[in-house]
């Protein structure tokens, strides 16, 4: 099986603005990937390039081993749900399924039908009259019934209430379990990502700051609290990601490739949310450290 997404020094420049810079990534198959980062970090740009809707300015990208804009065969392998899960307001639920069947060679009509029944959607209802949660579910149904190998979802749950969000994620995870679909999902809701994702990519100011399997990232990062010292006084092999100092105390978030060595400090693992926020914040004063650039696996 080829990588979900393999990018090498990928870049995208709009007229005035660099939206994606030196993006190098290799995401192994069979993952549910969470893509996080502040607004404007380049998440949507990366997702649009991955599904062939945008061409990169520089670099290379392969999705499932193929070129994202590599014609109808490639398009059939990737399902895309754009931001705010758009549907056609004046078309009925049944029309959406008919349209899906017409446009997708591998359309799974039974799956779509079963899903609509399970969701208790009225086939004659116009999409414009559905609730936000129902519209999102309809968009997901159309994307899943296409039976793609990879589903790309751009902030699918952002505008949904908690109940609708949970319903959407249940539906999504069920599809993943049933069809072994890989997923790339962008979201600001880290608690949701924590439940459903097993791979994480943090994008900040158009660059990849961190990428890796969630369990692995959590195991490698520690918060250390100790008497005041500089990051450079910590044992070799610990990469300082962030540092905060008071007159007496220093707090570091460090990344360690192996076991954390014992020391005169208290150490604990970070929650995923804290880990992500640490990487999202701009680099802070590292207490005199030099050349301690915060980097993830992808540089």
């Amino acid at each position: 099986m080829s990588a979900i997404l393999q990018a090498h020094e990928l870049g995208k420049r709009y007229r005035q603005r660099q939206a994606l810079t030196d993006c190098t990534l290799e995401i192994p198959p069979g993952h549910v990937v969470g893509l996080v980062g502040p607004n404007g970090a380049g998440k949507t740009t990366l997702l649009k390039i991955a599904c062939g809707m945008l061409a990169p300015t520089t670099g290379r990208i392969e999705v499932l081993g193929g070129q994202p804009n590599g014609g109808t065969a490639q398009l059939a392998r990737v399902g895309y749900v754009a931001q705010d899960t758009p549907t056609y307001a004046s078309l009925s639920v049944a029309d959406h399924l008919k349209l899906g069947a017409k446009m997708n060679p591998a359309w799974d009509a039974k799956l779509a039908q079963d899903r609509i029944e399970q969701l208790d959607l009225n086939p004659r209802q116009k999409a414009g009259k559905l609730s936000g949660g129902q519209r999102a579910q309809l968009a997901l149904t159309v994307a899943v019934a296409k039976r793609p190998e990879l589903l790309i979802l751009d902030e699918p749950v952002a505008s949904l209430d908690p109940l609708a969000r949970r319903g959407f994620l249940r539906h999504l995870m069920e599809s993943v379990a049933e069809h072994d679909t890989s997923v790339i999902l962008s979201s600001h809701l880290i608690s949701d990502l924590e439940r459903v994702c097993d791979y994480l990519v943090v994008l900040v100011s158009s660059r990849v700051r961190l990428a890796g399997e969630t369990d692995d990232l959590l195991a490698r990062h520690h918060r250390i609290v100790c008497s005041r010292r500089q990051g450079s006084d910590l044992p070799a092999g610990l990469e300082v990601i962030s540092a905060e100092h008071t007159e007496r105390q220093s707090r570091f978030v460090v990344r360690s490739e192996g076991e954390l060595p014992a020391g005169d400090w208290s150490a604990e693992h970070l929650e995923l949310e804290d880990l992500v926020l640490t990487y999202m914040e701009p680099p802070v004063d590292r207490g005199g450290d030099t050349a301690m650039q915060p980097t993830g696996e992808a540089r």
Binding site: R170, M173, V176, A177, R195, V196, C197, D215, E271
Partner: protein, 129 residues
């Protein structure tokens, strides 16, 4: 069949939460040898978690010798937990309940009660050894 739930704030890895819930169900007699665990698809469709998390939990249960997977059929409980189920120890639980009422009356709050239970449990376990 039992249901799982995931507490995002517990600080315990989700797969370990599932393992713990199966162990607890075994202790309470809600699960016994031969019972089928819900399929991965059934679990994720209910609690919206990554399917790999459930697979990992089931592998861990197999590793602990509590369950076994039958390809294409499902995962089954292979043994009940050694001791008699908690339900058969009603009187003991009533005593514990009475003790907790006393602890509360003495001004202990929930964290205090919990801490005392854990401390006592640890000490008695150490003395056993």
């Amino acid at each position: 069949m039992i249901d799982f739930h995931i507490d995002a704030r517990s600080g315990i890895a989700p797969y370990l939460q599932i393992v713990g819930q199966v162990r607890q169900a075994l202790l309470l007699g809600l699960l016994t040898e031969g019972d089928k665990l819900p399929t991965v698809k059934e679990v994720v469709a209910k609690v919206a978690i990554n399917p790999n998390t459930v697979s990992k939990a089931y592998r861990e249960l197999e590793h602990q010798g509590l369950a076994a997977g039958k390809p294409g059929v499902g995962t089954f409980i292979t043994r009940s937990l050694g001791q008699a189920s908690l339900a058969e120890h009603g009187p003991l639980q009533q005593e514990l309940r009475a003790w907790m009422d006393k602890a509360r009356a003495a001004g202990l709050t929930e964290p205090g009660i919990e801490a005392m239970c854990q401390k006592t449990l640890r000490e008695s376990a150490e003395e056993e050894r």
